[in-house]
């Protein structure tokens, strides 16, 4: 069975149609890339999968392991294994990153009927993962995303992903803002999480990321839907030719 199945998804914001029939099936263990022009609805799709409100779903469904997500609260989706690495991670003054991470880990443990994580165990776990992803210890003490550089925010998102061990992770432009070395570190982090029962949707504007995280499938997203699907070579074609073929009126 598909891990994620999106069927004919239509959604609007303030009466404006943004998603216009998204169909997407992702099998367990697969990495799909989603590429497409600015403002066509990629982040909207991500937010809707994660359960953000403010959108009106006018048609269609989203299934995780055959179960509809649409009626579920965001936290329940997260606990069911959905993870979104935000295009624009939110700054939360006053809440230390480590406090936040511990709360997130404990929410999962509670849902699994386990007790809260032991303080030492938590530190060990977080420090080890943070080190792998080049997240400095001082960032863990600082408030969530406050004063983090663009690249640091993205590393912190991937650190969260590594700690949450999701079933399905969406990386919404996680490569934007990363320098060349960081891109490799983050891609290694993602690759380390690839497993037969975990799937990814990687949203990016650049083929470079996809040379590190090699996708199984590449989709072109335009006008609120997937307009073409192919293999990794499609990303190279887009890099060379742009989106003129898909945007109707060539820009």
């Amino acid at each position: 069975m598909a891990l994620i199945e999106i069927r004919n998804l239509h959604a609007s914001v303030d009466g404006k149609d943004i998603l216009k029939g998204v169909d997407l099936v992702i099998e367990p263990g697969k990495v799909h890339a989603l590429m497409g022009p600015n403002g066509t609805g990629k982040s909207t799709l991500s937010n809707i999968i994660a359960g953000r409100d403010g959108y009106t779903i006018t048609d269609g469904d989203i299934l995780l392991n055959g179960q509809s997500l649409l009626e579920m609260e965001p936290q329940d989706r997260a606990l069911a294994g959905i993870f979104l690495s935000f295009q624009y991670p939110v700054e939360i003054p006053g809440v230390a990153t480590s406090t936040f991470l511990k709360a997130a880990i404990n929410a999962r443990r509670r849902a699994a009927g386990e007790g809260e994580i032991d303080a030492m165990e938590f530190l060990k776990l977080v420090k080890a993962k943070a080190k792998e992803l080049g997240v400095r210890d001082d960032m863990l003490k600082r408030p969530v995303n406050v004063g983090f550089s663009g690249g640091e925010k993205k590393r912190a998102e991937v650190l969260q992903m590594a700690l949450m061990t999701p079933r399905f992770a969406i990386l919404d432009e996680t490569d934007s803002g990363l320098d060349i070395d960081a891109l490799k570190v983050v891609a290694d982090g993602v690759n380390a999480l690839r497993s037969p029962d975990r799937s990814f949707l990687v949203i990016t504007h650049y083929q470079r990321l996809l040379s590190y995280i090699v996708p199984d499938v590449v989709h072109v997203f335009a006008g609120g839907r997937i307009v073409r699907t192919g293999g990794p070579e499609l990303a190279e074609e887009l890099e060379a030719k742009g989106y003129a073929d898909y945007t109707g009126a060539a820009a």
Partner: protein, 443 residues
């Protein structure tokens, strides 16, 4: 005199009679205080500094003098409400009176630190006490300072002189022990004098003997006069966490000399009415004042911070950041005035008030004000009122936190953010622990 303030005057007169002063000048000052209060009565909302805080209900209350109070259970309950600062030497004051039997003996014998009850200090050297009372403040200006001055007898005098070894932090536990059924009036006075080059960390916890929800009606009208000599330093942490019925009016009058630093932080969590009147004079070049704080007010609570910071010398710095969380029908008030005198060039003065409104019934009134007579200054003030950040809420939920936990974390973060301004780790931890305790108790 307005008949309305009668009960306050009667109890104050009784206090005068119960503790007569031998010193003529202070006796005269008491009389002056009573005359000033009687002449003006309770302030009304036409009084600029009382525009947003109604004290007229005090007229309906029949006050009595406070009992001795302070039995073992009262003390234990009070301690649970207070800040927990390990290592600080504790002085317990029940209904305004020092209780040496409940205090750390070492607090009274520290080298370089002299601590006396106010009445002992008056008996020792009345002129010195009179000099320490904030003369700058006209009694007519704050009726409650006038009333407190009229009652002058309970309280504490702390004097610190420079020693090779830093003084151990002092923790004053102000306990209101109000017997149920009666409204007690408590009017202590605190004098703090930090001599040239000396330093002190002073922690104060204003708490109730009966804890959160219970406890009789009370009015604590506490005045603190603080004098910092050249290059002196006072770190001053206050917690206002009295029981639900309690009313607390505090006035702080601080005179800060050349190069001295007043580093204040006040956290207000409990009490029906908590009003802090802060009046700070920066009197010598390089003097510095920080008047930061955080507060929370729910249904039945009114928290008012009204400050006046007077830059009377060049190269002085003042900073005031205040954050408040308002829930239910809670109400917050911030009136801040920074005055920069003509002589006060190179002044650095900043004020900021941020409020988080958690309900429709909550309300906040802010009035920051700058009056500047010098031309080379850096001053700013601002006020912002908002609700919980929806994006942040979604972010936390998307990481698996349920909405209640997410909200609590954001509220705690909002308040903790300003506690960051306290530089000492132990003090910061004590404050954030109280905020955490408060959040746990409201859920």
């Amino acid at each position: 005199m307005t008949a309305s303030a009668l009960s306050l005057v009667t109890v104050t007169e009784a206090a005068q009679a119960a503790a007569p002063l031998t010193d003529a000048a202070l006796t005269a000052l008491r009389a002056e205080g009573l005359t000033a209060f009687a002449a003006h009565g309770l302030p009304t909302r036409t009084h600029e500094r009382w525009k947003y805080t109604r004290v007229s209900p005090l007229a309906e209350v029949s006050f009595v003098a406070a009992p001795t109070g302070g039995d073992a259970t009262a003390i234990q309950t009070a301690e649970e409400q207070a800040l927990n600062v390990p290592g600080a030497l504790r002085l317990v004051l029940v209904n305004g009176r020092l209780r040496p039997d409940l205090s750390d003996a070492a607090a009274l014998t520290q080298a370089g630190v002299s601590i006396q009850t106010l009445s002992d200090a008056i008996a020792t050297d009345a002129a010195a006490v009179k000099a320490g009372l904030g003369q700058a403040l006209a009694l007519a200006d704050n009726p409650f300072v006038a009333l407190n001055t009229a009652a002058l007898s309970d309280g504490l005098v702390i004097r610190v002189s420079a020693t090779p070894q830093a003084a151990t932090p002092l923790h004053l536990l102000w306990i209101t022990d109000a017997a149920a059924g009666a409204a007690v009036l408590v009017q202590p006075r605190l004098l703090v004098e930090i001599g040239r080059g000396a330093a002190l960390t002073l922690i104060e916890s204003q708490v109730g003997a009966t804890g959160g929800d219970t406890g009789g009606d009370s009015l604590t009208n506490r005045v603190s006069d603080i004098t910092l000599g050249d290059d002196a330093r006072l770190t001053h942490i206050s917690l206002h966490n009295d029981s639900r019925q309690a009313r607390l009016l505090t006035a702080l009058q601080a005179r800060i000399q050349r190069g001295a630093v007043y580093d204040g932080f006040a956290l207000t969590l409990g009490g029906a009415l908590v009003r802090a009147d802060l009046r700070v004079e920066l009197l010598g070049p390089g003097a510095e004042a920080r008047l930061n704080g955080a507060y929370a007010a729910g249904t039945g609570q009114h928290v008012d911070t009204t400050s006046f910071i007077d830059h009377a010398a060049p190269h002085c710095t003042s900073a005031q950041t205040l954050k408040g969380v308002l829930d239910g029908t809670g109400r917050g008030v911030f009136q801040g005035r920074v005055n920069v005198q003509r002589i006060a060039q190179k002044t650095d003065g900043h004020q900021l008030h941020k409020a988080l409104l958690l309900s429709r019934g909550a309300e906040v009134d802010t009035k920051p004000e700058l009056t500047i007579f010098a031309d080379d200054v850096k001053c700013s003030h601002g006020a912002a009122t908002g609700e919980l950040d929806e994006d942040a809420l979604f972010y936390l939920q998307a990481r698996g936190l349920d909405p209640d936990t997410a909200r609590s974390l954001l509220i705690e973060g909002f308040l903790d953010d300003v506690v960051e301004l306290v530089s000492d780790d132990a003090l910061r931890d004590a404050l954030t622990a109280k905020i955490h305790q408060w959040l746990e108790s409201r859920s």
